[in-house]
C-alpha cells in the first residue's frame, strides 16, 4: 500500500468523524421553542397557510402533505430554486458551481462502482456493465469539471467585483473557491490524459483491495488527488457543509410546526429544560448566579403587588 492510499484513508476517516461530529452536535441540541416560517410545504397549502386557519384546529387530525414537501425539496436541492428566485445574478454562477459538484460526486460514485466490478474481473473491454459504468463516469465527471470551473470563475469574479459581496469576503472564501477550481481544472486535465479513467479506477481498486497500484500515476494526477484528499478532510470543518444546516434549519426550525399536545417525549424534554440553571446577570432576571432555574425565574414576578393602584 502506498503513501497516497494511506493519505486517502486518513482523509476519509477525518471526513467521516468530522461530519458525524457536526451532525451529532446539532442533533443533540435541546428542542427549541417554535420559530417556524411560512410557507411550510408539508402544510400543503399553496398560499402559505397553516393549520391555524382552521377553527378548533387542535381537535382535528393534522394532514401532513409529504409529497408537497418533496415537490419543494427536489428542485431546491438540484437547482437551488431559492437563489434562482431571489438572487438571479448570483444563481447564474452558483448553479453551475453546485451542479458541477453534484456531477463530479456522481462521477466518483460510478468510478468506484467501476473499480468494484473490475475487482470481480469485469473490465470495460470485456464487460458491458463495466463499459457502461466507464461511460457514466465520463458523462458525469467531464461536464462536472466544466460546469464547476465556470461556476468557480464566475463566483470569484462576482465576489471580487460586487461591493456587497466583496465587503463580506475574506481570504478564506477566495481560497475555498480557488481550491475547488484547481480540483475541477486538474480533474479535466487528468481526463484529457486518461479519457477512460483507467488510472483513477486502478487507484480506486487499490483502495478497495488494500493492494498495490497497477497503473503509474502522472504528476498532474497526483496533484489532483492531493487537492481532493486535502479538501475532503477540510470540508467538514467549514461552512460549506451547508447541507447540514439546510436539513436542520429547514426541517427542524423553519418547518417545525409540531404543536404541543402533551406528547410524552416533548413533555419530558420541557421538564428537563425548565430545571436548567440560569446565570443571566441582569437584575430583572433574578437568576442569583445560577441558584434559580428556568421554572423559578419564569414563574416569578418581581413587580407583582408592588405599587398596585
Amino acid at each position: 500500500m502506498g503513501f497516497l492510499q494511506i493519505l486517502t484513508y486518513l482523509s476519509g476517516l477525518v471526513f467521516v468523524i468530522g461530519f458525524a461530529a457536526k451532525l451529532l452536535k446539532y442533533a443533540t441540541m435541546p428542542m427549541h421553542v417554535r420559530w417556524e416560517l411560512y410557507p411550510i410545504p408539508h402544510e400543503g397549502k399553496e398560499w402559505g397557510g397553516s393549520f391555524y386557519e382552521e377553527i378548533d384546529h387542535w381537535k382535528k387530525t393534522r394532514h401532513i402533505d409529504h409529497m408537497a414537501q418533496y415537490r419543494f425539496m427536489v428542485p431546491e436541492i438540484l437547482f437551488i430554486r431559492a437563489l434562482h428566485e431571489d438572487n438571479r445574478s448570483l444563481w447564474y454562477w452558483s448553479f453551475p458551481f453546485h451542479m458541477g459538484l453534484y456531477l463530479c460526486i456522481g462521477g466518483l460514485v460510478f468510478l468506484g462502482l467501476g473499480a468494484l466490478v473490475q475487482i470481480f474481473g469485469m473490465a470495460p473491454e470485456n464487460s458491458a456493465l463495466a463499459s457502461l459504468l466507464q461511460s457514466l463516469t465520463t458523462v458525469f465527471a467531464v461536464p462536472g469539471y466544466i460546469l464547476g470551473t465556470i461556476g468557480v470563475v464566475g463566483l470569484t469574479v462576482k465576489r471580487m467585483t460586487d461591493s456587497g459581496l466583496a465587503d463580506v469576503s475574506a481570504g478564506i472564501d477566495f481560497m475555498n473557491l480557488i481550491w475547488l477550481g484547481l480540483l475541477f481544472v486538474t480533474g479535466f486535465i487528468v481526463w484529457l490524459q486518461d479519457p477512460g479513467f483507467l488510472v483513477s479506477r486502478a487507484f480506486f481498486q487499490s483502495l478497495i483491495t488494500f493492494g498495490p497500484m497497477t497503473e503509474p500515476m502522472g504528476a498532474i494526477h497526483v496533484v489532483n488527488l492531493l487537492l481532493f484528499i486535502g479538501f475532503w478532510a477540510y470540508f467538514p470543518f467549514t461552512h460549506m457543509t451547508h447541507m447540514v444546516s439546510k436539513y436542520f434549519m429547514w426541517d427542524k426550525v423553519k418547518w417545525d410546526d409540531d404543536p404541543n399536545k402533551g406528547d410524552a417525549g416533548m413533555d419530558s424534554k420541557i421538564k428537563k429544560y425548565l430545571a436548567y440553571p440560569v446565570t443571566w446577570a441582569a437584575a430583572h432576571v433574578g437568576a442569583e448566579g445560577g441558584k434559580k432555574n428556568w421554572a423559578d425565574v419564569a414563574t416569578s414576578n418581581p413587580w407583582e403587588n408592588k405599587d398596585q393602584k
Partner: protein
C-alpha cells in the same frame, strides 16, 4: 462598508440623507422629505449615537474607561451564555445554525425593507450585524480565534464603540424575518438580531425603554403596558358599553371574569385607549353571533401584548405563563387573541413549548373565529355598506410567522362588494412589515421616530400608495385594513406624517370595525373617517 468597520473610532458611522432614499409613488414622487432631526448637543454628550446619529435606546455613554471595559466584558459574557444550552435552550439550535452557516451571498439584503429603503446603507444589511456578532464570537470565544483571524475573516476589534453601535443596530431591524424566508441555506439573520437584543437585555439590562421599563415591566406591575390597572379596565369597559349603546342602540353587557366561559378573549390593551371602537366591534360581533366568551380583569389578563417576544426570553415567559394561568383559572376552553400580531405569535407559537402539554390551553386567532362567524351566517352583512376601495396589510407575526393568510381575505371578500378589495404587492407570506414591528411602533425615544418615518415604514407606505394608484383623488375614500394594533399604530403615524388622508383619501382601520360597519342591523355607519365628527357638527 466591511463589518469590521463597526469598531472604527469616528463620531458617526453613517448618515441617512433624504436624497439617497428611494422615491415614494404618486403623489409623493417629488415630496420634500424632512430629514432626521439631529440630536441636540447635550443629548449627543449623554447618549450613544455613533451608529447613524439616531438614538432609539437613549443609551448612556460610559463615564470612565473602567466602566467601558466592564460593559465590553459583560457583552462578551452574554454572548458566551447565548451559546449554552442552560441559558439559551429556547433558541440554541437555530442560533448556532445561523452563526455557522452564512454563505455571505447577500440574498437576504434585497429582501430587507430597512436596507432597501435606507438607500441601501450597508450597516442595515441583515448580514452586517449578524456578521459582526459571528466575527466577535469566532475571534474572542473560540479556541485559536486569533490564528489567521484576518485571513479567516473575523479580525474585528471588540471595543465599547462596537458594543454601543451593536446595541443601536439591534433596534434597526423589525424582526419581520423576510431575510430568513429567502435565505438559500436557511440562515435566519432576523433571529440573530433577536438573540443580540437578548444579550443586551438579559445580561446588561439594556433595552428599548418603551418595551422594557414602560413595556413588560409595567405589564407585570400594573397589568398592562399602557399602565391601565386592573381596576381601571373594568371602568373603561363600562364606558365601552355606553358607547356601543350610543352607536348601535344595543345594550350589550361585556362579560368580565366569567368562569367556565367557552372563550377568553384577550385584546391588546392599547386598543382600549387608542382605538376603543375595536374592542367595541368585537363585543358587538360576539354578542350578535351568540359567542360564549369573557374578558379578564386579572393582572395581565386584559392585555395580550408580550413585548418579551422581541428582546427578553425571561420577560416573555413571565407574561406568557400569566396568560395561560388566567385562562386555566377561568376554566375556559380556549384563548382567542384579538387583533394584535405579536400577541398571536407570542402566545400561540413561541409559548407553545414552555409547559408540558397538559398544562397548555388551546389558543386561536380571532381572524379564524371571525371568518367562522361570517361563514356560519349567524350575522347578516350588507357589503354595499362598505362600498369603497380597500386593501389589506398582512401583519408579519400572523401571516409569514403563523401561516394565517386566507381567513382575513375571506372576511373582506364577504363584507365588501366585488372588485373593491385589492391586494398589495407582494402580499401574504411575502408581505412587507408595517415598519413598526419588534416594538418600533411604540418606541419614541430620542430621534428614533424620524428613522421609523423615513426608513422602516417607507416600504409599507409605498405599498399602500401603490395599491390605490389610479384612484388618488382625495374625494374617493379608501381604506387600509390593518388587523393588528402595532401595525395600526405605525400606519397611523405614517399616514399622519405624510398627510396621506388629506392628499389621497386613504385611511386605516381594523377588520372588526369593517365587519360591524357592514352588519345589516347596524343603522348608523360604525366606521369613522377623519373629519366625520366635524361634518356632524
Amino acid at each position: 462598508m466591511r463589518p469590521e468597520e463597526i469598531s472604527k473610532k469616528t463620531e458617526q458611522l453613517v448618515t441617512i440623507n433624504t436624497e439617497d432614499l428611494p422615491p415614494l409613488p404618486y403623489p409623493y414622487e417629488n415630496y420634500e422629505e424632512t430629514p432626521i432631526t439631529p440630536l441636540k448637543e447635550e443629548q449627543k454628550k449623554k447618549w450613544e449615537h455613533s451608529l447613524d446619529g439616531v438614538s432609539a435606546l437613549t443609551l448612556p455613554k460610559p463615564e470612565t474607561p473602567e466602566e467601558e471595559e466592564r460593559l465590553v466584558k459583560a457583552f462578551l459574557s452574554g454572548l458566551g451564555k447565548l451559546m449554552t444550552k442552560e441559558n439559551n435552550w429556547t433558541f440554541l439550535q437555530p442560533l448556532m445554525l445561523s452563526m455557522e452557516y452564512c454563505a455571505k451571498c447577500q440574498t437576504c439584503a434585497d429582501a430587507c425593507p430597512a436596507f432597501e429603503m435606507s438607500g441601501r446603507k450597508d450597516i442595515y444589511r441583515p448580514t452586517f450585524r449578524a456578521d459582526v456578532v459571528r466575527k466577535i464570537a469566532k475571534k474572542y470565544l473560540s479556541k485559536g480565534g486569533n490564528i489567521l483571524a484576518h485571513f479567516r475573516g473575523h479580525d474585528i476589534d471588540l471595543n465599547w464603540d462596537t458594543v454601543a453601535r451593536l446595541a443601536e443596530l439591534s433596534y434597526r431591524c423589525t424582526l419581520c424575518r423576510r431575510c430568513a424566508s429567502v435565505c438559500p441555506v436557511g440562515v435566519d439573520n432576523g433571529l440573530m438580531n433577536h438573540e443580540l437584543r437578548k444579550i443586551f437585555s438579559q445580561e446588561m439590562g439594556i433595552a428599548g425603554p418603551e418595551i422594557h421599563e414602560k413595556g413588560s415591566v409595567k405589564h407585570l406591575k400594573f397589568g398592562s403596558s399602557t399602565g391601565m390597572t386592573t381596576a381601571a379596565v373594568a371602568d373603561i369597559i363600562e364606558y365601552l358599553e355606553d358607547d356601543i349603546e350610543e352607536k348601535t342602540g344595543k345594550k350589550i353587557k361585556i362579560p368580565l371574569n366569567k368562569k367556565g366561559a367557552e372563550i377568553l378573549l384577550i385584546h391588546n390593551a392599547g386598543e382600549f385607549m387608542a382605538w376603543p371602537e375595536n374592542p367595541m366591534a368585537f363585543a358587538i360581533l360576539f354578542d350578535a353571533a351568540g359567542i360564549d366568551y369573557t374578558l379578564s380583569t386579572e393582572l395581565a389578563g386584559y392585555d395580550a401584548v408580550n413585548y418579551g417576544l422581541w428582546y427578553d426570553d425571561v420577560q416573555f415567559a413571565r407574561v406568557a405563563l400569566k396568560h395561560l394561568e388566567i385562562a386555566r383559572d377561568l376554566g375556559v376552553k380556549k384563548i382567542v387573541i384579538g387583533e394584535c400580531g405579536h400577541a398571536h405569535k407570542a402566545l400561540s407559537v413561541i409559548a407553545d413549548r414552555l409547559l408540558p402539554g397538559a398544562q397548555m390551553i388551546p389558543r386561536e386567532s380571532s381572524y379564524t373565529l371571525l371568518n367562522e362567524i361570517v361563514k356560519s351566517g349567524k350575522i347578516k352583512f350588507d357589503p354595499s355598506k362598505n362600498d369603497f376601495p380597500v386593501t389589506l396589510h398582512d401583519p408579519c407575526n400572523v401571516v409569514r410567522l403563523m401561516g394565517i393568510v386566507k381567513p382575513q381575505r375571506e372576511v373582506l371578500n364577504a363584507i365588501f362588494p366585488p372588485g373593491r378589495f385589492r391586494e398589495m404587492e407582494p402580499h401574504g407570506v411575502e408581505n412587507y412589515c408595517c415598519g413598526g414591528g419588534s416594538g418600533f411602533a411604540i418606541m419614541s425615544s430620542g430621534n428614533f421616530p424620524d428613522w421609523k418615518r423615513l426608513v422602516s415604514g417607507r416600504k409599507k407606505l409605498s405599498q399602500i400608495l401603490n395599491a390605490f394608484q389610479g384612484e388618488m383623488d382625495p374625494s374617493i375614500r379608501k381604506m387600509v385594513c390593518a388587523p393588528c394594533s402595532n401595525c395600526k399604530g405605525q400606519i397611523r403615524d405614517m399616514l399622519e406624517s405624510y398627510e396621506v388622508f388629506e392628499k389621497t383619501g386613504i385611511w386605516y382601520t381594523g377588520m372588526v370595525e369593517l365587519m360591524v360597519n357592514a352588519m345589516v342591523d347596524q343603522k348608523k355607519p360604525f366606521l369613522e373617517w377623519p373629519g366625520d365628527e366635524d361634518d356632524d357638527d
